[in-house]
Symmetry: C2
Subunit: 450 residues, 2 copies
């Protein structure tokens, strides 16, 4: 495990960060000669190549890379903050109810329209949320913390690590469930990341978002929040799931397994859908009822000790193939020092044959290459056609029925543990968090003509 990086950092920078136990989001002061930089520690960005740069977010919001030499001094000024936003809230709460923590990361569900520009901007207003959804106080005893305040399109693997650490913290403190408010753009990715990053979850972690801003009449925030809190408080399973509208009306929400869910529509309330798996449950929030319709893989069990494994390798790339793709892009990724490649190929798991020499070079350079399909539905099978067989011979790891996005997250997570190719292959082929469905039934393909 000696070659594993630390939030993307290696060598001297890694050693210095470990020596002060620096975590992403901690406030650091960096002195190099007579220059001093201060800001929040960010995960390493591929942008800086292999050079010993430390990335910090300055107070003006910009990220900079500080070149680190042996003589550079890095101090921790403050631990990263997570802001308590609502305990005690203005309304009285019933402490005999299940205790739920809501972690806010940003997104439409905690957003308002900026009336100056007309655009929606993240701006948390806990009291407003509680006012909109008074039913929550009948379901749970609630605490709300702000972990991040970002658009979800700006989410990174380093920030998944941070969210996972917060979720883990509250799980170990005995809460009955964790709700994560998240922007919908990349909520599916984060749900999968949390599925891998915490093993032995005693209680569920429920991601929830909104497709329409909370101060619009058509908002889906309240319905989704009620449903999410119900699942966090009462569901018999303890997985990383997404809870969102099941159809356009307010009849039910669906609980999607984090590793099998995808945002399939730019604007509909029922944009999130399970692919190659049934949703785990339907939720009828007004009746406070959860109906199990799919498979429960991990049961709620307060005696379980959660295990945090939240290191994601940032140097993993997802490449979708297309007819004009040239092998230069694979060569670039190898030469640039990426650690892993997930291909979103065509059909049963193919790329143009002309890419195969470069793919083979990647594998020979110790870079695992995982195959998924841009069809999204169905399973990879690389034994049917000669192209698939050649790709297997080149060392490509078949991604089974994993979503391309889930395979990408899983590979980042696996590479956070090991870069040994045999070990990576074994883990990628092992079903860890429901990302592989051994039995895809006919009813999992939606009905297209209505």
């Amino acid at each position: 495990m000696g070659d594993v990086d630390y939030f993307g950092y290696r060598g001297t920078v890694k050693e210095k960060l470990i020596s002060i136990n620096a975590k992403i989001g901690d406030r650091l002061r960096v002195r190099r000669g007579d220059r001093v930089f201060e800001g929040l520690l960010m995960p390493r960005e591929a942008l800086y190549g292999d050079k010993p740069y430390l990335v910090i977010k300055l107070d003006n919001g910009y990220n900079i890379g500080v070149y680190v030499t042996k003589d550079t001094v890095i101090e921790k000024v403050a631990e990263k903050k997570s802001l308590l936003l609502s305990r005690p809230s203005t309304r009285s709460q019933n402490k005999s109810l299940p205790s739920i923590v809501m972690l806010s990361t940003g997104g439409t569900i905690v957003s308002k329209v900026d009336y100056e520009t007309g655009a929606v901007k993240p701006a948390l207003s806990t009291d407003e949320l509680l006012e909109w959804v008074p039913e929550i106080s009948e379901i749970a005893y609630l605490e709300v913390y702000e972990v991040l305040r970002i658009f979800s399109e700006d989410m990174t693997p380093g920030l998944w690590a941070r969210i996972a650490e917060e979720v883990y913290k509250y799980m170990t403190r005995g809460y009955d469930g964790v709700v994560v408010a998240h922007g919908t753009d990349t909520m599916g990715y984060t749900a999968a990341a949390l599925a891998f990053a915490i093993k032995n979850k005693p209680v569920p972690v429920v991601l929830v978002g909104a497709q329409r801003s909370s101060d619009r009449p058509s908002t889906d925030s309240a319905f989704n929040l009620k449903s999410a809190f119900l699942v966090a408080a009462k569901a018999p399973f303890a997985e990383s799931v997404i809870v969102m509208h099941g159809e356009t009306g307010d009849s039910y929400a669906l609980v999607h397994r984090g590793t099998k869910v995808r945002k399939m529509h730019t604007s509909r309330r029922d944009a999130f859908q399970s692919i190659n798996d049934l949703p785990i449950a339907k939720v009828f929030p007004n009746e406070k009822r959860i109906e199990i319709i799919g498979r429960i893989l991990f049961k709620r069990d307060r005696d379980l000790e959660p295990v945090l494994e939240n290191h994601f390798d940032e140097k993993v790339i997802l490449i979708k193939t297309f007819p004009g793709i040239a092998s230069d892009i694979i060569d670039y990724v190898i030469d640039k020092g990426y650690h892993g490649i997930v291909l979103e190929g065509t059909g049963l798991g193919h790329t143009p044959n002309k890419l195969i020499p470069s793919i083979e070079r990647a594998v020979d350079s110790g870079i695992p290459v995982v195959m998924t399909s841009q069809c999204l539905f169905g399973r990879i099978n690389m034994h049917v056609y000669s192209t698939g067989r050649k790709l297997l011979a080149a060392g490509v790891i078949p991604g089974k029925d994993m979503l391309p996005e889930t395979a990408y997250i899983k590979l980042s997570w696996v590479l956070g543990k090991t870069r040994d190719l045999r070990e990576v292959r074994k883990l990628m082929l092992t079903n860890i968090a429901g990302e592989i469905n051994p039995r895809i039934t006919v009813n999992l393909y939606p009905r297209w003509l209505q």
Copy 2:
């Protein structure tokens, strides 16, 4: 238009190729000093950077790049071949029926299992096809030509140009329809390419494939072929369409508009589905009946003069964004001299904000950047959130409800006509071949829970 390349070639190589009227697939002899190379002209590959290489396919199947100097002599040895495979066929045909040309490009529909290796390999057997589907002789007078013999994963924009030229040729010769047999991996891409490459189609061009090899009992070849020939011979529309199984049984096939169709399953017979548009029609081949269920945008009209516009710029890249994406990949694409970028962003059309400076640099360098969504369903709207507004300010062209794959093909085609950014923007925003649906209705989203 002086800066437009010729199948990817520029400068001296372009001039020499134009002087001998060389087309993709023509057999060339290249003399440089005392070295002689002979093979089929292939489109330029990005692999060779900006250097004056000519790409030819040798008889051993390998592509090589021949460095071209002023003194290099390029001769045309033979025009590209299209092999007549079945006229007159062994069965007598009825010449009073509509005349249909089938162009074979390869793929499972014209494949057999290689019993030595167990894998499926392309190998056309026209007589077998006709034996399997005797009903075709009741529908049409048939001629079959082999244009290519490739796996569809090896399809390229240069080969789209070649297929388009063949389709155009038979359209101008007064045939009543053209069927293109194609591998399913990239059939959706080729269908969209043919939608753009031939304007004013007098008759339909129908792409058809098979998900199961023709010599397997479960093959869908016969049903699909019957349906495709029926559409080519009798449909009232003249668009580039895909005809494939509409559900798993043999009840009906669906006719999908080429610009709105996507392979959505790795193995099911009904893998092809229309996105953000209804299929144009249902086909009941056994009843020889076509039922229009969607919109007809271009009517069959034998008096129309087709126009061939089959130049696709090969230096266009499709980039799917994901949380760990770094801006270096955009920088690479700019520095490598790509001509256009299609982004498959998240949600309503977003990328991480950290990519925006590189995206702006691309646009400032004259490289159009088009935004689509990895949600696939729904429409881009970059006015709702500040990230979208910043991307618009950086010059990104919103892809409306275009599929990422269709936007990629359209941009390749537009860049084959012009590299003027204003002109590119105008064409990308104009509905040319049904790629933009101004009115997405609720029933276009499939029903997920069955």
